[in-house]
């Protein structure tokens, strides 16, 4: 019963979690003694009761001293996260059920902040100190959930500086959404298969250019597909070269039509498309995507891939 009540209150408080960017204000901070803190309070009380009984002034003075150490600890612990600025919490897009990075950007204006812990579920990161007028970037790695677009989870930002007898904490969440792509399946749809699907749709504008010939090797440039690397020449120790097939108009413009792929389970279908997109990007082909009303024209590059994967993540399974 007690436990339930505790969880109920915790959930209520968590709903009030503030959204970044923010500066932690005093009315957002919760503070309670830790278990050593309760022991400390007991120590103070025992000393006080003993001295009171014995009419011992020195003991009384000492117990009052420790009592105020306790009270000042509230202030000090509170100050250790007060006015801390959480500039941003950014989610790195990730695939379902894999590690996803969350990047925290914190800064301190007034004074040095020490011993800050940010936790979510069972994972946590510790920030030893943030110097005055400086900022810190820290990564928290969490296991991502199913495919989809999520609101930010609630993070618990806490500190028990300086004496560990109090813990001050606040709940924060990011203003950004967490995008989780479908988990890529093991196999992908091969290029010829995709072509045939395109033909079925009857939307091929240009025939396949069959006389694409190997035109020679060119020096490797960043962004070239790994598949085109001439491993033969690399193994001879000549350096990295890629095979140049010249302009490949027509051949590498592929459209993926969601409704043409005949798999009943939508999630599996999305996983397959996800893997296919990754493969196509790796091959350096231009690809586009059409799901229901959304249409992305063929293109290539990381930015394009991201857009495609985001569409997959966003797709509503009814």
């Amino acid at each position: 019963m007690k436990f339930k009540l505790y969880n109920f209150i915790k959930q209520k408080i968590k709903k009030k979690a503030k959204i970044t960017p923010l500066e932690i204000k005093k009315n957002q901070i919760y503070i309670l003694p830790t278990s050593p803190g309760f022991i400390f309070l007991l120590v103070v009380f025992v000393i006080f009761a003993g001295s009171f009984n014995e009419n011992n002034n020195m003991g009384l003075l000492f117990s009052f001293f420790l009592f105020f150490i306790f009270i000042i600890s509230i202030r000090e612990t509170r100050n250790s996260i007060l006015n801390l600025k959480i500039n941003s919490i950014k989610f790195e897009n990730s695939f379902a059920f894999s590690n996803s990075k969350i990047i925290f950007h914190l800064s301190a204006d007034k004074n040095e902040k020490k011993s800050i812990e940010i936790s979510c579920l069972d994972k946590n990161i510790k920030i030893n100190s943030i110097k005055k007028n400086s900022s810190v970037k820290k990564e928290l790695i969490l296991m991502s959930k199913r495919r989809g677009i999520y609101n930010s989870p609630v993070f618990n930002l806490s500190s028990s500086y300086p004496y560990g007898i109090f813990k001050a904490w606040t709940y924060i969440r990011s203003d950004q959404k967490q995008i989780v792509y479908p988990a890529p399946s093991n196999n992908s749809i091969s290029v010829p298969e995709l072509k045939s699907l395109m033909e079925e749709k009857g939307k091929i504008k240009e025939s396949l250019n069959k006389d694409d010939e190997f035109k020679g090797l060119k020096e490797y440039e960043k962004g070239d597909s790994i598949k085109r690397i001439s491993w033969k020449s690399y193994s001879k120790g000549l350096g990295l070269f890629t095979k140049d097939f010249g302009e490949q108009k027509g051949f590498d413009e592929i459209m993926i039509f969601f409704d043409k792929i005949k798999i009943k389970d939508t999630e599996k279908k999305l996983s397959l498309i996800c893997k296919t997109i990754l493969e196509l990007e790796l091959m350096g082909l231009k690809y586009g995507l059409e799901i229901e009303n959304i249409k992305l024209l063929p293109n290539k590059g990381k930015e394009h891939q991201k857009k495609c994967l985001e569409i997959l993540a966003e797709f509503k399974n009814e």
């Binding site: 003993g50 009171f52 009052f64 009592f67 150490i69 006015n83 203003d175």
Partner: protein, 635 residues
């Protein structure tokens, strides 16, 4: 290897906390405590492996057993404190997590506190607080991420100074009661104090004891010369020893006397139930301590096992105490026949003439006052009076009382102190155990009980003897260094006295005076308690209020952001909201091309915002302008 770590620092904190207590320990106890200390040091220096759980458990039992055997019990001061130290040392070896480490620190607070069972002087208090601050620094070190001990010391110093300041405020307001609530702890250790019976050698054994028995300060200046401090009255003589009444009979009423004076006394543990008063006490302000019909102070329930600080009203003139009974004339059969004969020779005279005759006998016969009297047998009074004529004050007093009883003059012996050494700085008198003295009191019908000191009659120097005792040698008197040392010691003594008088001796009556000073007369316990709670509340709020100041300041600084947020809330077209990755200037450009109304105001608002955000302003000029423009923006 040699760097500081948590367990090293916790060890050092327990060491510093127990250091002052160790000074008071017996050698065999010291040896028992020494073992776990060495064991800990060896483990810290990586010479031996830390013990396993079973070893630790058996060690705990072993030390408890040893201490129990040594002291026959575990819950007294002398056994309990070593046990606490040993347990704390073993706790260090058992620490696994942060909580254990903090608990070990809390244990060292307890050890520190146990120091007050031994001493509560000003300097021990200073040590106690310094050591507590050290322990708090260790707590800080354990919790700090950067592990720089100097920084934790700095932090805990600032925290502790605030805490001490507020602790003193609470201290003065905490309601004091007239007597203690429950029983006092008992100390098994018996130290020298005034004798419970008077027999040959009972006082002379104290003659070389330099320990301070009590300190006294008189309200008005009272001449120190011939200052008698009364403790116990011995009414019964069994031939060898004089015994007090058991228990002493309570005086019928408190006596009021116009010539009453006040004295403030710090009495060191006597381990008996008698308290000391200058001359004749009139009343005592504490419940549980009564005036007896012998004009002494008696603690009915508890022995004086702790330093007792009190104020007593007394008079130099003997008040009208109850008449003597048969016990004041009773002599044991078969002892000191010669003395009985001598006494009965004077029976024909008037009582005051009999007393005169008695004193004359001491003056005439060249009695010698000596710290090393010869050994006396069964009839020691006869031997002293007629043969050896050498003795200490107890010989003089008991012989005179015996003679008086033989002459049918009611008499008794009073034990207490005579003399003392004045501290000129604080104006109090140190009375040492070596000032212990015994004298005689006899009853005269028209005068009541009067003091007769046969020792002084034969040896008037006794009054002067005790002043400057330590430095009385020729070497001491001539040496400037010793004079300097003495004056320094006097200063320390004066500081301690002040501390005892004002802080440790802060009690019910001093608190009433303090409240009167604040204009709060006649406060009862309930009202005082409420006031105390209010003060706890106020001081806690005061400490926490500092947070509020900082928080308010913080809000001021981000005011422009709040205004900007308000502005964003006004815009209904979501496409025109500022994007997260967009700079403020980019946003301004985008807004300029939009079809929003009040475009000029918006532009001005954003420009003032940028100025405030990135350049800042000393007065709130920009913020004011932002507010003005924000009002103008209406869609």
């Amino acid at each position: 290897m040699n760097s500081l770590n948590n367990s090293k620092l916790i060890f050092s904190s327990i060491f510093f906390s127990s250091l002052p207590v160790l000074v008071f320990m017996e050698p065999e106890t010291l040896f028992i405590i020494f073992l776990p200390f060495i064991y800990n040091i060896l483990i810290i220096l990586n010479k031996i492996r830390p013990p396993k759980k079973k070893t630790l458990l058996s060690l705990t039992f072993f030390f408890t057993f040893i201490l129990a055997i040594n002291f026959k019990e575990l819950f007294s001061r002398d056994a309990g404190v070593p046990l606490l130290i040993v347990m704390s040392l073993l706790k260090i070896l058992e620490m696994k997590n942060l909580r254990d480490e903090l608990v070990a620190c809390f244990l060292s607070f307890f050890i520190l506190l146990s120091m007050i069972l031994f001493s509560t002087s000003f300097f021990t208090t200073i040590y106690m607080f310094l050591s507590a601050i050290y322990t708090i620094s260790v707590m800080g070190f354990i919790n700090s991420p950067d592990k720089i001990f100097f920084k934790s010391i700095k932090k805990s110093l600032s925290v502790s100074l605030t805490a001490i300041l507020f602790a003193f405020i609470l201290f003065f307001f905490f309601p004091r009661i007239q007597n203690s609530l429950w029983g006092k702890h008992s100390n098994t250790k018996n130290v020298s104090g005034f004798a419970q019976t008077i027999s040959p050698g009972s006082i002379s054994s104290l003659a070389k004891n330099d320990e301070v028995a009590f300190k006294v300060k008189f309200e008005d200046k009272v001449s120190l010369h011939g200052n008698y401090f009364r403790g116990i009255v011995f009414n019964t003589f069994d031939g060898i020893s004089w015994h007090p009444d058991k228990p002493p009979i309570k005086a019928p009423t408190n006596y009021n006397n116009l010539n009453s004076k006040k004295a403030f006394i710090i009495l060191y543990p006597t381990y008996s139930k008698y308290l000391i008063s200058p001359d004749y006490p009139l009343n005592f302000p504490e419940k549980g301590i009564y005036l007896t019909e012998n004009a002494t102070l008696y603690s009915w329930f508890f022995k004086i096992n702790d330093k007792k600080i009190y104020e007593v009203e007394f008079t130099n003139n003997n008040p009208n105490y109850p008449k003597p009974g048969k016990k004041h004339l009773k002599l044991p059969n078969g002892y000191n026949q010669k003395a009985i004969e001598l006494g009965s020779n004077w029976l024909s005279l008037t009582p005051d003439k009999r007393i005169e005759q008695g004193l004359k006998y001491f003056k005439k016969n060249n009695f010698v006052y000596t710290l090393n009297p010869p050994k006396y047998g069964k009839n020691y009074i006869d031997e002293f009076l007629f043969k050896e004529k050498k003795g200490f004050c107890e010989h003089f007093a008991s012989s005179f009382a015996f003679l008086m009883r033989a002459a049918k003059v009611p008499s008794r012996i009073t034990g207490g102190y005579l003399g003392g050494e004045q501290n000129s700085i604080a104006g109090f008198t140190n009375v040492r155990q070596s000032d212990a003295h015994a004298w005689c009191e006899v009853w005269l019908e028209n005068k009541g009980w009067i003091r007769i000191d046969p020792t002084i009659e034969s040896e008037p120097d006794r009054l002067e003897r005790n002043t400057d005792q330590i430095f009385s040698s020729d070497f001491g008197r001539k040496n400037q260094f010793f004079k300097l040392t003495k004056s320094i010691l006097n200063v320390f003594d004066a500081i301690n006295f002040f501390w005892d008088q004002k802080i440790m001796g802060y009690n019910f009556s001093l608190q009433n005076k303090f409240f009167e000073f604040l204009g709060l007369k006649n406060q009862n316990f309930f009202k005082k308690s409420i006031l105390f709670i209010i003060i706890v509340f106020i001081s806690s709020i005061l400490i926490l209020y500092l947070i509020n100041l900082k928080a308010k300041y913080a809000i001021k600084k981000v005011e422009e952001l709040i205004l900007f947020e308000k502005f964003q809330n006004k815009i209904k077209n979501k496409a025109l909201l500022k994007k997260n990755n967009e700079g403020y200037f980019e946003y301004l450009k985008r807004i300029e091309n939009s079809d929003l109304k009040n475009l000029e105001s918006i532009k001005a608002f954003i420009l003032y915002f940028i100025e405030e955000r990135y350049l800042g302003s000393k007065n709130k000029k920009n913020i004011k302008k932002m507010r003005d423009y924000l009002k103008k923006i209406k869609f």
